[in-house]
């Protein structure tokens, strides 16, 4: 009897979804169509994988008591899982695919007996359910920190903020010798290749991200771990896998083992991805199976197949145990309130924590942000960066505007467009209110903060030198930076008339263009802090802001 072709179909599906994922990630960038004019919008459905993600949807629902736009799509994954089991993990999830791919590089230590042993069900596989419970409880208490471990969040963050920028650098560095060759033919070939790559996979310009090395190393470690233990991350930590595993207990599709055919050859175990004991003689563990179909394909006696409505001894739910369940509950329930009782959120917020335009007030923001990095990936000025401690421990890897690296482009709302959870609520350029001019829009503009002068660093204020580049760049009209002529004395004591800048806090939107353009690059003479940000009713300076 012919071997089952199901593993082949699965592999095709995995490759398709992996390519789709990477393609969408590359298109999570400002890539205007040639000849287009007017406002700039995302054309590719770059949020797709997050909208499919039932974990994001469930967390969003627990934290916000609603579902943000597009998250309804997660039913497309959740409902079939209810009937069919965790097909998603084995057939779609790109992080699973990458681990499976790396795990398939046979190393000596993985061959044979050791691998078979490591593929037997292990008690530590229940850790992911503890993670899931803790994450969902945390979401209920207003922290979507589960996004640290959500597979798409992890992938977009790692690839988008670390691996792809590194790839961009490597490609450009490799092309450099060709583009600067003395031989005209080599030079033009290098330039043409560069242009072609630029039009397809390369970013318009090299991006840089804080903690990029760290994020990249974490990601590589996850892949390397799967060399030792097949899909170690999927089996032990992935909270989405845990959620789908818990849901799949009712599924009507399951593994049928022919007890007569099995001669304990262990081939099914050798290729098992989920660690769900497909071998005869022990009960199948439904919640662990990722439906990779390798056991079906590898059984030499065709003794294993997936069947509907079977009646066989199996283990439906994870053997979580009361103690572990309570651990998860307690972790989520204790940690978030503990962190909220600390300073940094209720009191004494970080002055340099500048959230993207459209961001909700900090408590709502933290309750929604899954730290996926989509906003940082898409920002055309590379201005959004992952936080380390600026937003507190619970806010690790949430986005913050770093004006030294890039300012917020006046008419751009791409970050709000790609945000899958509404942490950055979708706004239009008109709602942002920097485009039409502050005086013309009926509503108040979105403000990220307020700029201040450090007169000790400012050329016209401290060094009797003309400058006011900040005023030139200020994007609002009337300008939030106004200038007054002043008499100063230079080093020789000679009187000199020059223009000195001042901030009008009522007009400043906190875009950071002044700080970005300031020639004092390492310690700018004008800098933006979060006071006056429109999302926060408490963080205001003026009694009556315009």
């Amino acid at each position: 009897m012919a071997r089952s072709r199901l593993p082949l179909f699965r592999r095709i599906s995995q490759i398709f979804f992996l390519l789709l994922f990477i393609g969408l990630l590359i298109f999570t960038a400002l890539r205007p169509t040639p000849g287009a004019a007017g406002d700039i919008e995302m054309r590719a459905p770059v949020r797709l994988f997050f909208e499919w993600d039932p974990l994001v949807a469930l967390g969003n629902a627990l934290a916000s008591h609603s579902l943000y736009r597009g998250l309804l799509l997660s039913l497309v994954i959740l409902l079939p899982t209810l009937f069919l089991g965790r097909f998603f993990c084995g057939w779609i999830c790109p992080l699973g695919t990458l681990q499976q791919f790396v795990g398939s590089w046979h190393s000596e230590s993985k061959r044979g007996k050791r691998r078979i042993e490591s593929n037997r069900y292990k008690r530590w596989q229940t850790i992911k359910y503890v993670v899931l419970i803790a994450g969902l409880v945390a979401a209920f208490f207003g922290s979507m920190a589960i996004g640290w471990l959500d597979p798409f969040s992890l992938l977009v963050r790692s690839l988008g903020l670390s691996i792809l920028p590194a790839f961009n650098y490597a490609v450009r560095a490799s092309l450099w010798p060709f583009e600067h060759s003395h031989i005209a033919f080599v030079r033009s070939a290098g330039e043409d290749l560069h242009s072609a790559l630029q039009a397809t996979v390369l970013d318009f310009r090299q991006t840089h991200f804080q903690q990029g090395v760290f994020l990249g190393v974490l990601f590589v470690l996850i892949l390397v771990a799967s060399l030792r233990v097949t899909r170690l991350w999927c089996r032990s930590i992935c909270p989405l896998g845990a959620l789908l595993g818990a849901v799949s207990r009712w599924s009507v599709l399951g593994l049928h083992k022919d007890p007569v055919a099995c001669d304990r050859c262990n081939l099914c175990l050798l290729h098992c991805q989920g660690g769900d004991d497909p071998i005869g003689g022990v009960p199948w563990r439904k919640s662990e199976c990722v439906m990779c179909m390798n056991c079906v394909g590898s059984c030499p006696h065709s003794g294993i197949e997936f069947r509907f409505f079977r009646k066989e001894k199996e283990i439906l739910s994870p053997d979580l145990g009361r103690r572990r369940a309570v651990t998860g509950l307690a972790a989520g329930a204790v940690v978030v309130p503990l962190m909220r009782a600390n300073t940094g959120l209720g009191k004494d917020r970080n002055a340099r924590l500048l959230r993207p335009p459209g961001a909700l007030d900090e408590p709502d923001f933290l309750a929604r942000c899954i730290r996926c990095g989509e906003c940082m990936k898409v920002c055309p000025n590379n201005a959004l960066q992952p936080t380390l401690d600026q937003a507190g421990l619970a806010g690790l890897w949430t986005p913050t505007l770093v004006p030294r690296i890039g300012y917020c482009e006046p008419s751009c709302v791409l970050c709000s467009e790609v945000c899958p959870t509404g942490a950055i609520w979708q706004i239009t350029p008109r709602e942002k209110g920097w485009v039409v001019g502050v005086s013309q829009s009926n509503s108040r503009p979105v403000r990220l903060g307020t700029a201040f002068y450090d007169r000790g660093h400012c050329l016209p204020w401290a060094m009797a030198t003309e400058c006011i580049v900040c005023e030139e760049w200020c994007p609002v009209s009337p300008k939030a930076i106004y200038i007054l002529e002043a008499q100063v004395a230079d080093a020789s004591g000679k009187a000199k008339t020059l223009k000195q800048p001042y901030i009008d806090p009522g007009r400043c939107v906190g875009c950071g263009a002044c700080e970005y353009a300031c020639p004092i690059q390492d310690h700018p003479a004008v800098y933006v802090t979060s006071i006056g940000e429109s999302r926060s009713p408490s963080s205001q300076i003026l009694l009556n802001p315009k």
Binding site: P34, A36, V438, Q440, E472, S477, K479
Partner: protein, 356 residues
């Protein structure tokens, strides 16, 4: 057991050297000698090359794209649509094109400036993420018309480019210039980092700066600025538009802005300057944003004299004299043009408004 086998192995090893033939030994020596010679040679060669790393020698060329003067023809022209009761009528499609056509005709036609097979680089202002109505960037119709005329004159290649301040892709897109210029078949080049080249500008304050490559490879360069107010200088007109050929830390130029402007104008002498005064940004320049800051003037000024045209436009819309704008006097003193635009031959044309 293992001890025994070890001893055996050692005994075999001890016999091995004797087993190597003379021929094998010789080959071995040759191989090693070859590697040693190679490594030694490479080391000496690299050692010879040891010099302190310095940046590549910058190019040394002033760019003079002027064409011969013609005493029969005016050096400057002003073309405008009349106002009705002191205000201009609403903007209409096609008007910037008509203004440019007339301006070029007044100066003797595009063929006077562009020769067959020329590579022409047009330098509109595409600095800001703004729409045409906000008048922070050059009017796209004006740019498109110049592109069309260059093709008519038989140009080999027409390039439209600028080094933007805001995110370039957004600027090129929302200014409408990318679409308009491409529709006329121009090569629209975005300011990519790899295309900059280090140039010695031989200025008084501007020495070595990265200049955007397409400007260095042009046969003819036409400056297409837009007239705007500017906080530090007072106005930003034609000469200030040359900021957009530079890369690097341009934000330092403000410290000696007048000298910088003259250095730039002395480095890049355009074939022609066509100033967009269709919409003039009177306040809150050079970025603007609010339509209240924009005055519809429906005018295009063109000149072969980069100093005279700036002087005229500063006077016309801001009532600023050369004394208020030191860079004009400095540029005139450097021999780049004249501030006495009244003494030039100026042709003024008034176009009639088409019935809507």
């Amino acid at each position: 057991m293992s001890g025994d086998s070890d001893r055996k192995l050692n005994a075999e090893e001890a016999r091995l050297p004797a087993g190597m033939s003379r021929r094998e030994a010789l080959l071995e020596i040759l191989r090693l000698g070859g590697v040693a010679a190679g490594v030694g040679g490479a080391a000496f060669w690299l050692s010879e090359r040891n010099t302190k790393p310095v940046p590549a020698r910058p190019e040394q060329a002033r760019r003079d794209h002027r064409v011969a003067a013609d005493a029969q023809l005016p050096q400057m022209t002003v073309v405008y649509y009349p106002m009705e009761n002191g205000t201009a009528t609403a903007a209409r499609e096609g008007e910037p094109r008509a203004l440019v056509q007339q301006a070029l005709e007044n100066l003797g036609g595009i063929r006077r400036f562009i020769s067959r097979q020329d590579t022409v680089v047009l330098k509109p202002n595409i600095a800001w993420d703004r729409t045409p109505e906000q008048a922070a960037n050059t009017n796209p119709e004006l740019v498109a018309e110049v592109v069309r005329q260059c093709w008519q004159a038989g140009a080999r290649r027409v390039v439209v480019t600028d080094v933007s301040c805001n995110e370039p892709q957004r600027c090129f897109l929302r200014s409408g210039i990318q679409a308009a210029a491409r529709a006329e078949g121009a090569d629209v080049i975005l300011p990519e980092q790899r295309l900059f080249r280090e140039v010695n500008m031989n200025g008084i304050v501007l020495k070595d700066w990265p200049v955007f490559g397409p400007f260095l490879d042009a046969d003819k360069v036409i400056n297409l600025p837009i007239a705007k107010q500017h906080g530090l200088v007072g106005v930003t007109l034609g000469m200030k538009n040359w900021y957009g050929i530079l890369g690097g830390a341009r934000n330092r130029l403000h410290q000696q802005i007048h000298q910088s402007l003259v250095d730039l104008a002395n480095f890049m002498l355009p074939t022609l300057t066509i100033m967009d005064c269709y919409r003039v940004l009177l306040r809150n320049g050079p970025t603007g944003g609010d339509l209240e800051d924009v005055a519809l003037k429906k005018t295009v000024v063109a000149s072969t004299d980069p100093v005279a045209i700036d002087t005229y436009v500063a006077k016309a819309y801001w009532n600023l004299n050369p004394e208020d704008l030191p860079y004009l006097q400095m540029a005139a003193a450097r021999g780049l043009g004249t501030v006495d635009f009244e003494k030039l031959a100026v042709k003024i044309s008034r176009l009639s408004l088409k019935a809507s």
